[in-house]
């Protein structure tokens, strides 16, 4: 197992390196430059290019960037907050995005599992239909519509929670954004859990367990859930990454200085360093999550562990 993990980690590092290179090339292909502005002359643009070292060849820049990155230096912003260290910009905003995303994931997982399990246990009954309807509405109504509805009724009309994000009471003011953000993961997890549970409930070994007279709840927890959740974990990984790296619309609506908004602005402003940094944060999280899921998979599912160990 340890050998497998080490190998997986090394592969992941190599993947990240390739992603960074691809990002760099993509940035180079981006239309426009960070210094396109109505009031900037051609001569000044050339000067700015030289100043920030953008006139050097792509590979030189790439290796310099990779080297600096190991030292924790992600360059400076060209257009969003000029001359700011990108590492500081990302660091400050990532924390908030992780907080909102984490809360949303928690809510999404709990409610998604409850809905999914309820639906599966009452397959083809009105509870099943209700759960299905809830999860369908969850994916078909955009999160920004939910966000504004929540804002209007819970915060504005009823005044139970603050309308906008507030640094002085971060937890309370992040509840609404987290709920708004959790709508779609709840639906996805519920759907997936339901269909996996139904599969498992219909399998022969459950029939065996049932015939052995194991009590219902014990059976569900130890036999059904354990097997049904393995595929659910694979979908949860990417969902979590998407949540943690911020949602630009939710951040816009609630006035949250998060990383999702930063990346959109960076792309729009052609702020190369910020775009690469935000995109790479996403990449790192994604690859780490995949690694984690793979390893967890091995731990939960003995079949996979055994085949992996044989190799």
């Amino acid at each position: 197992m340890r050998k497998y993990i080490i190998k997986r980690v090394l592969i992941s590092l190599a993947t990240l390196f390739v992603i960074l290179l691809v990002l760099f090339i993509l940035m180079d292909l981006m239309p426009g430059t960070p210094f396109n502005d109505e009031k900037l002359t051609e001569a000044q643009k050339t000067l700015l290019y030289a100043k920030y070292g953008l006139d050097r060849p792509l590979l030189t820049r790439f290796f310099l960037y990779a080297k600096n990155m190991l030292k924790g230096d992600l360059g400076v912003s060209y257009a969003i907050n000029k001359n700011f260290a990108v590492s500081d910009m990302v660091k400050d905003r990532l924390g908030i995005s992780i907080a909102v995303g984490g809360m949303a994931m928690l809510i999404g997982t709990v409610f998604g599992l409850i809905l999914g399990i309820l639906a599966a246990l009452n397959h083809n009954s009105w509870i099943d239909n209700l759960c299905s309807a809830i999860s369908v509405i969850g994916v078909s109504v955009p999160s920004y519509v939910c966000a504004l509805l929540l804002c209007y009724f819970i915060a504005y009309r009823l005044g139970w929670l603050p309308i906008l994000y507030n640094v002085e009471q971060p937890f309370i003011s992040l509840i609404l954004p987290a709920i708004a953000l959790s709508v779609s993961p709840t639906a996805n997890i519920a759907r997936f859990t339901r269909s996996e549970m139904i599969d498992v409930l219909n399998s022969d070994y459950i029939l065996l367990v049932q015939s052995k007279g194991v009590r219902n709840w014990k059976m569900i927890i130890t036999h059904v859930l354990r097997n049904a959740l393995i595929p659910v974990i694979t979908v949860m990984g990417p969902i979590l990454v998407n949540l943690l790296t911020g949602s630009s619309v939710i951040e816009k609506i609630f006035g949250i200085p998060g990383i999702g908004r930063l990346m959109i602005t960076a792309i729009q402003e052609n702020d190369y360093n910020v775009t690469i940094a935000c995109a790479f944060v996403y990449s790192v999280m994604y690859i780490v999550m995949m690694l984690f899921v793979d390893i967890l998979y091995g731990i939960i599912d003995p079949r996979i562990r055994i085949t992996k160990e044989e190799k």
Binding site: P31, E38, N81, A155, K252
Partner: protein
């Protein structure tokens, strides 16, 4: 095997579809020569129903009547607005437009004329709406219009490269004079004249206006130049002048809007702590590198120049206590206030503001290394040279008398900079509240990028004591909020004191106490790529 074949076939169809569509896109490109035809451009100018267009924007924008916006400049003799003197140069007349269109078709020997209309998608909702409306009106006359949606930076890149047909673009005036617009379209201005408008008559009028010292004559030259550009040649097609609807909490006073200069928030009063809304964050605190309105407003809060703009756009002395001017109005000598200080974030005096700070700042502004977008600012003011005579005396020599000189001194790019502090901070200068010095009415207390920036009163500033008596705010917070609907809720809940409204929200809030409908200086126009020189 059958399944695999089906799969392959499906793939092939998809790839084929994509390839075909790519080719089709290329064929659709408009024939560039058509824009050299005057009748094409005239058809465009008459086709647009600007009044209805601004009604659907509904955010206080007004129909453009020429390339010079309303409230930019006043006749030096009569005081009348430029637009009053000129009258409207554009009109909505479908029949006339169709007539021109038919004539153009005949001359060009074509049945259809295609326009690719470039516009920016991240330049505000009003731009998107305006582009859709313009396209509709052009189609009503007979044109075929493809809307080309790009992000702002890409749109600008395409325009710089001349790789477009017609683009919806804008210009914000830098100073209160027609020159700020007229300079854009002279044939020698390769940076801004993207359509490569080239008219000897226009060039001559603009050159004559800039050469003359007679202000009345100058005015007439500009009027003539605008007629050349819009009425005679229809080279650039004015669309609308941007407005801005907002609500300011009743009781909060002192916010001064300027359509041709930076809005003045220095005299905010009526509450101890005022929270204002901004829809964009500060980009750069460094007053000489900043280029956007938000950064400039922040600069005017904690910094100050020789003059300041008052309500109505008139200047008054700020850090300058007095000034003298020689007989032919080319040498100005400013006396800097004795009680002007550089103040640190904690409110301690760092150093007095001296004439050397101005000399250093102006040298820095024009220096190549800085590559400031406003490096040309001093040229516009007709400044030839400047020097600090002694600690408190700053002398500026002009190439010729300039009517806009004193007003332009209120622009943040001309503010002083303390050399010692700048050198000490190095690369970190102006990247946080700790790495700037204040010399204006406020001190930058904190800045959380993407969230808010806060100012507190600067007790060392010369008008600080009067200010308190006037009910001035001790604390001014700017909160960055991009979504207008939640911002309005926050306003109604009483947590913020101003709110910017989108066009959709105006009707419902028009009669709310504190509703303000302001006119901005931005003029949106269609830049026509007349002498297409791109690919």
């Amino acid at each position: 095997m059958k399944k695999l074949l089906t799969v392959l076939l499906a793939l092939l169809i998809l790839v084929g579809m994509t390839a075909c569509s790519g080719k089709k896109g290329g064929d659709d490109a408009a024939d560039v020569v058509i824009f050299q035809n005057e009748n094409v451009r005239k058809a465009m100018i008459y086709a647009i129903d600007r009044d209805t267009l601004v009604k659907s924007l509904n955010d206080g924008s007004i129909a453009a009547e020429g390339i010079i916006p309303w409230k930019l400049a006043a006749n030096p003799v009569s005081g009348a607005d430029f637009r009053e003197d000129q009258g409207s140069l554009v009109g909505y007349d479908v029949d006339k437009a169709k007539e021109y269109f038919a004539k153009a078709c005949e001359e060009l020997g074509k049945d259809t004329l295609t326009i690719n209309l470039l516009y920016g998608t991240n330049e505000g909702d009003s731009v998107i709406k305006a582009a859709e409306q313009v396209a509709y009106y052009l189609e009503e006359v007979g044109f075929e219009v493809n809307l080309v949606a790009k992000q702002k930076k890409e749109r600008l890149a395409l325009m710089t490269d001349g790789d477009y047909d017609v683009a919806l673009t804008r210009w914000g005036p830098d100073y209160a004079d027609p020159q700020t617009y007229m300079d854009l379209f002279v044939s020698t201005n390769t940076s801004n004249n993207s359509g490569r408008y080239n008219s000897a008559e226009y060039d001559a009028n603009v050159a004559a206006a800039e050469a003359t010292t007679d202000m009345a004559e100058r005015w007439q030259y500009f009027l003539a130049a605008e007629r050349n550009l819009v009425a005679d040649d229809a080279a650039d097609i004015p669309v609308f002048q941007a407005g801005g609807a907002m609500i300011i909490r009743p009781g909060v006073t002192g916010i001064q809007f300027h359509s041709a200069a930076v809005d003045n928030y220095r005299h905010v009063a009526g509450k101890e702590a005022v929270t204002l809304v901004t829809n964009t964050d500060i980009i750069y605190l460094d007053n000489q590198v900043a280029t956007d309105g938000t950064s400039f407003i922040a600069d005017t809060m904690f910094m100050a120049g020789l003059t300041e703009l008052e309500e109505g756009g008139n200047w008054k002395l700020d850090l300058a206590e007095s000034y003298e001017v020689n007989d032919d109005a080319t040498v100005y000598t400013f006396k800097i206030r004795d009680d002007a200080y550089w103040v640190t974030k904690d409110g301690d005096v760092y150093a007095p503001v001296t004439a050397y700070d101005f000399e250093f700042a102006w040298n820095r502004l024009v220096s190549e290394e800085l590559a400031s977008e406003y490096g040309w600012w001093l040229d516009t003011m007709s400044v030839e040279s400047w020097k600090a005579v002694d600690d408190k005396t700053f002398e500026v020599t002009l190439t010729a008398p300039s009517g806009i000189f004193m007003g332009c001194l209120a622009f943040p790019s001309t503010f002083p900079i303390n050399e010692e502090f700048l050198t000490a901070q190095g690369d970190q200068y102006a990247t946080s509240a700790d790495t700037v010095l204040a010399c204006g009415p406020f001190i930058l207390d904190s800045w959380t990028p993407g969230y808010s920036y806060e100012f507190k009163k600067n007790d060392m500033y010369y008008f600080a004591s009067d200010y308190v008596a006037d009910g001035g705010a001790d604390k001014v917070v700017f909160r960055v909020l991009e979504d207008t609907q939640t911002a309005l809720m926050e306003y109604e809940a009483g947590n913020i004191d101003t709110v910017i409204l989108s066009g959709e929200q105006v009707d419902a809030n028009k009669n709310v106490d504190g509703y303000v409908d302001r006119l901005q200086g931005y003029l949106f126009y269609l830049s026509v790529n007349i002498n297409h020189y791109g690919e």
